[in-house]
């Protein structure tokens, strides 16, 4: 017997595809809600993005002459496409989704060797690329018009919008800027945050239940948070990163809002807007691009939160989660290198220093 099997001979009932599909399942309620809220175009964009991601994965595996079925069934491409779709404006044209998905899968993931080898979160890197390359398409928001409501687009109108770029004449595309975008614009006009918020006509409950403009994943904070908590309960993700991300945004927001409410936005609005919940529970927790140790994850998450707040407050972009995520992705190897658990039986660094000094 040359190739004996090595212990352990038993295995926990878990697999990568189980993890991926559970994450996807946790996204379903929020996605359905957003699609209802934003109408047919949202569904079309979602379908195009997910489809393109799967096709791109298939295409790369074909090129590399690797069997496609097992890799596609692990659900990672679907998840990437899904997350990207959730971070796009609902009424963006189809090619934005397709291009983003291709970029995410081909350039950010497969070129590095596929699942587990990528350095950056594919969906977020793609979103950043789109935001820089196509700022207009990525910042055109509409006031949501729920499905089956009076002013909702019909299916055919939606096809025309998503695939042909024909905006129904009755619509004012710029009518529904996101909360953060609106405040950013108003601040440059020397209007205080308080007035801007009031002017935006946005109530807290609207934020909570997502009844406002924004990307698909921006709109259903409660449902997303519920999905995330379910994942934590199922031990698919750990609590470290989400908590640290939220804390990283909330702490500076609380402090500075208390300091100058006219200039700085309050913590609750920060937490509930701009896809932060989606980022904290579903994107920052991507295991491939986050540190492997609990302490490293806390640092990583807090860094994302802090950078998000920093860029939102002072930077040129109203929406910052994507930038913050890929910046911290880039720091992940360094964190993993220096933040590691103390190995059993090894003196801690402080203790060994003390020992050396004495």
């Amino acid at each position: 017997m040359i190739h004996a099997s090595h212990a352990p001979h038993a295995h926990a009932p878990t697999s990568i595809s189980r993890v991926m599909w559970l994450v996807i399942a946790a996204l379903v309620p929020a996605t359905l809600f957003s699609i209802w809220l934003n109408g047919w175009p949202a569904l079309l964009l979602w379908a195009v993005t997910v489809g393109s991601a799967v096709f791109a994965e298939f295409f790369c595996l074909r090129l590399a002459q690797r069997p496609a079925a097992p890799v596609l069934s692990d659900g990672s491409a679907v998840l990437t496409g899904w997350l990207l779709a959730l971070s796009l404006p609902a009424w963006a044209p189809w090619w934005i989704g397709a291009l983003g998905a291709f970029f995410a899968i081909v350039v950010v993931k497969q070129v590095f060797g596929g699942l587990g080898q990528n350095l950056f979160n594919p969906a977020m890197a793609a979103r950043v690329m789109l935001l820089i390359a196509f700022p207009v398409e990525l910042t055109t928001w509409v006031q949501p018009a729920p499905l089956f409501s009076a002013d909702a687009l019909s299916l055919s109108q939606s096809f025309a919008l998503t695939f042909l770029g024909q905006m129904p004449s009755s619509f004012d595309a710029l009518s529904g800027a996101t909360t953060l975008g609106h405040i950013k614009t108003e601040l440059t006009r020397d209007i205080s945050v308080v007035q801007a918020l009031a002017g935006h006509g946005q109530s807290m409950s609207a934020s909570l239940f997502g009844l406002h403009g924004g990307s698909l994943g921006e709109t259903a904070a409660m449902l997303l948070a519920a999905g995330g908590l379910a994942l934590i309960a199922l031990r698919v993700i750990s609590w470290h990163i989400p908590l640290a991300v939220l804390a990283g945004v909330a702490l500076p927001a609380l402090l500075l809002h208390a300091h100058d409410p006219a200039r700085y936005l309050d913590a609750t609005t920060h937490l509930l807007s701009g896809g932060l919940i989606l980022g904290a529970f579903f994107i920052a927790t991507d295991p491939v691009t986050s540190p492997g140790t609990p302490r490293g994850q806390l640092i990583f998450g807090f860094g994302i939160g802090l950078l998000t707040w920093l860029i939102r407050t002072y930077g040129g972009y109203p929406e910052a989660v994507a930038f913050a995520v890929i910046l911290m992705n880039a720091l992940t190897p360094v964190i993993d290198r220096y933040v590691r658990p103390r190995i059993y039986g090894h003196a801690s660094k402080a203790a060994s220093k003390k020992g050396a000094a004495s």
Partner: protein, 193 residues
């Protein structure tokens, strides 16, 4: 005080010398295989860059301007930079022979590191005070170090990844650098008022 902090932040992040201005790419690609050597290179570059901006400021204000020979700026700057690199090289060789081995050819190449000359020329043109110039140089060096160490971490991970043969080595390095640069675009327009 906060003005200087902002200057540091601005030069390190917003106008990152490597990832936004694309200067000094040679050592960025060359000495980023291991985090340890990247840290060594960062220290050396930080030292040279800070020293170089300081000396070139003196050169600019005490020699070139009084004599009205600003047209010799590039030439004179290179002379000074080359000298300070030589000096750094000797110091490293004496104090850290292992690091000297690791840095290899890239150490003398700091001389031709366009980041050093670039930052020196930029500060000379901006014509700020001595402290301003010094902090500008130091901030740029911090930005260079940050980018280099981050990138070295990424490359250490890439060394363990199963990158397709077509992309293995330099190509994937450039792709990763591009994505890193994309990430730094997030700092664009960062203004702390």
């Amino acid at each position: 005080m906060s003005e200087y902090l902002l200057l540091l932040l601005g030069t390190a992040l917003v106008n990152n010398v490597v990832l936004v201005k694309f200067l000094g790419l040679c050592p960025f690609m060359g000495v980023s295989k291991k985090i340890d050597s990247a840290i060594g290179m960062s220290l050396a570059t930080t030292f040279v860059l800070t020293l170089a901006t300081a000396t070139t400021w003196m050169l600019e204000h005490w020699l070139l301007e009084p004599f009205g020979i600003e047209y010799l700026r590039t030439l004179a700057f290179i002379l000074v930079i080359a000298a300070s690199v030589q000096f750094t090289e000797m110091v490293i060789r004496k104090s850290a022979p292992a690091l000297y081995q690791v840095l290899g050819i890239y150490l003398p190449l700091i001389t031709t590191n366009c980041a050093v000359l670039g930052v020196a020329l930029l500060t000379a043109m901006e014509g700020g005070s001595f402290l301003h110039t010094l902090l500008y140089g130091f901030g740029s060096a911090l930005g260079f170090s940050l980018a280099l160490v981050m990138f070295a971490g990424l490359r250490e991970r890439m060394a363990l990844a199963q990158v397709p043969a077509t992309f293995a080595g330099a190509p994937i390095g450039f792709i990763a650098a591009g994505l890193l640069s994309l990430a730094f675009m997030g700092f664009a327009g960062l203004k702390i008022a």
